[in-house]
Symmetry: C2
Subunit: 377 residues, 2 copies
């Protein structure tokens, strides 16, 4: 693959693709990206950028013609085209069958159950009526089977009063977990079966928007929880048989159990800090995994936090960044801007990685960054 | 500058530019690069790439028209055009006057002398006749005043026998130093006068080609040598008044003295390891410096070595990489390929950063990499 004729196809040209492109430059991997948005974060920096829908069969099939390997940065892509391309000899990682399981949260949950992977109780529902029959299951999260992303497609139902908020499409009711922490492990697996995990991290979600608001790495949990979370991630990757990266989000319950919340078959927000805090970043690791290369050392060289830089509430329009100078003046503060032209409330516009060996000062820096750095219009 | 209208002009589109572009993506800085080679390492990944000569007045002047700030990745550029652009309100960093001193090794040496900066003895020469008058000064290095780069323009003259190798153009004779080590410090200075240095490194040069063959960071020298090298680098940057990065290459003599060998007013081969071993890389630091941003934390989080990946002797043609899988399989080994299509004997085709906390195993990995990883045609 270290040749001028090799091409890696990438479905999606958002921020995850952008950081993948940066890693691909190190190994001189020619990446061709597909995204419907001509102003997508990858548009200006991809060696090749095609405007088109990764959901459309013909577009994806045509796009893949001159690629040796095809990968994704978003899981909602046209799987039929990917299957066709694979049948014609292309390597497609992660495999379409894995995406099929993960694309539909109902199938995903059933997969955990069938494979004895720990997850919270759930009920599949096809209508609001189905939900109203299961009021005793509340409080629960109502999750759309298909099409949810970044906080969309998830609705908390606390009691009967919330029924009007329930999804009318096929969805599931997931028992609300009284958790202590949300933790995540990113695991990589290549086609030779080599597997490596990144250290467990701890995510703090935005109370309203269900987005990672900030993250600490490593998670402040016991060694045995680290080890158990790692084993669950490895087992999930092996049972899926995935080639590529898998981000496994988990709940650590108040009584010390780990339950899988959901997984993403790609680079993930919970691994952004690895660019600055681990020897190998999740982006390089994804490349190594899908290209059949040996996996890199995932160990952390620094303690880190990651703060998502979300579009400030109340502002829509051309993005302006306030507080960059103050942020950059703090030792160990590294902003990553995604190059999105337009900001909207809570849109992911970038993230900030903070490194510091002292946990108190790490938290203090996180608070300063959250307070000073804003995206407005 | 964190706006869609801001443009940073970059003269040169080689590997230094390529790694600068990668760093610029983090801060979403729009970079426009100029290089005469349409296949230059920056060509495919620069948000904007212009084919043209950075030595040509009109080309550089036109190129700079829509840039707010102009910087370089190679020092042999057209200074008149840069001066004109600056007179019209553009920021040009490093400043043309600094480049003027450094472009001509004769002026550079004189600058050290005039500013009491330690350097080896030298004689300015305009002809072979001048050299033959100073045979008692040999063994010495004969260095071309202008136009040398990466080992070209330097010739060792051991005795009268070597006179036919001497340069006929204006050059200098520099007393050969009986040194213990070659060390280097990269220093950054922004327009507000803020200065930061990277830790001292130790360079091992190729015995024939006068290129950095490999490097260890930090240098195995005493704390007081570290401190003295740092102070010399800071003093040199301040006396030059440079805004941007300055790589200061020095000799550590056998009797413990530090002498400046030469400087480069830009990112440098002796700082490539900072991408993987220091919290802020030299490329991000250069951007911060020329953009007037606060400088980043230069401390190292890992011990590192860097091996240049030179085109194998005896091969010219389309580059092929041998041993990539073996190299990537070693923990802490990170190849960086520059995307040059054609390899030539001793052409810089990439580099490999190796990180390891244990010095013995670091050296062992360096030797494996040097043995296994080859660029052939």
């Amino acid at each position: 693959m270290f040749s001028k004729n090799f091409k890696l196809g990438l479905l999606g040209g958002g921020q995850l693709g952008r950081m993948l492109l940066q890693a691909a430059i190190d190994l001189d991997i020619h990446v061709k990206a597909l995204d419907p948005d001509p102003d997508a974060p990858c548009a200006k920096i991809a060696p090749e950028f095609v405007v088109g829908s990764f959901l459309d069969y013909d577009t994806v099939y045509q796009f893949g013609q001159d690629c040796e390997v095809i990968t994704i940065e978003i899981e909602n892509v046209n799987l039929e085209a990917l299957k066709k391309l694979r049948s014609e000899g292309k390597k497609v990682f992660p495999q379409p069958e894995v995406l099929e399981i993960i694309q539909d949260k109902r199938v995903q949950k059933q997969f955990y159950l069938d494979n004895n992977l720990p997850t919270s109780d759930f009920i599949l529902t096809d209508s609001v009526e189905d939900i109203s029959k299961n009021l005793n299951f509340l409080p629960a999260f109502n999750k759309l089977g298909k099409g949810g992303y970044d906080g969309r497609g998830v609705q908390k139902l606390s009691s009967e009063i919330d029924l009007p908020l329930a999804f009318t499409e096929p969805s599931l009711l997931e028992k609300a977990i009284d958790f202590d922490k949300e933790i995540a492990v990113i695991v990589a697996r290549n086609e030779h079966g080599e597997i490596k995990t990144f250290p467990t991290v701890e995510c703090v979600f935005h109370p309203v928007y269900n987005l990672v608001e900030y993250l600490f790495a490593p998670a402040a949990v016991t060694e045995s929880i680290h080890e158990e979370a790692k084993q669950i991630a490895i087992e999930t990757a092996e049972k899926l048989g995935i080639v590529g990266l898998l981000a496994v989000e988990m709940f650590l319950t108040k009584d010390g159990k780990i339950l899988i919340n959901e997984v993403a078959p790609r680079t993930h927000n919970s691994g952004h800090h690895t660019i600055r805090a681990n020897h190998t970043s999740q982006f390089e690791q994804h490349l190594r995994a899908v290209l059949g290369l040996p996996l890199g050392d995932t160990s952390a060289h620094s303690k880190a936090a990651m703060v998502n830089l979300l579009g400030e509430d109340g502002y829509t329009g051309e993005a302006k960044y306030v507080g960059m100078n103050e942020a950059l003046a703090i030792a160990g503060v590294y902003p990553f801007l995604y190059g999105k032209k337009i900001t909207k409330p809570f849109r992911k516009m970038g993230h900030v990685t903070v490194v510091d060996e002292n946990l108190d000062s790490l938290k203090e820096k996180v608070n300063i960054v959250k307070e000073k750095l804003k995206v407005i219009a």
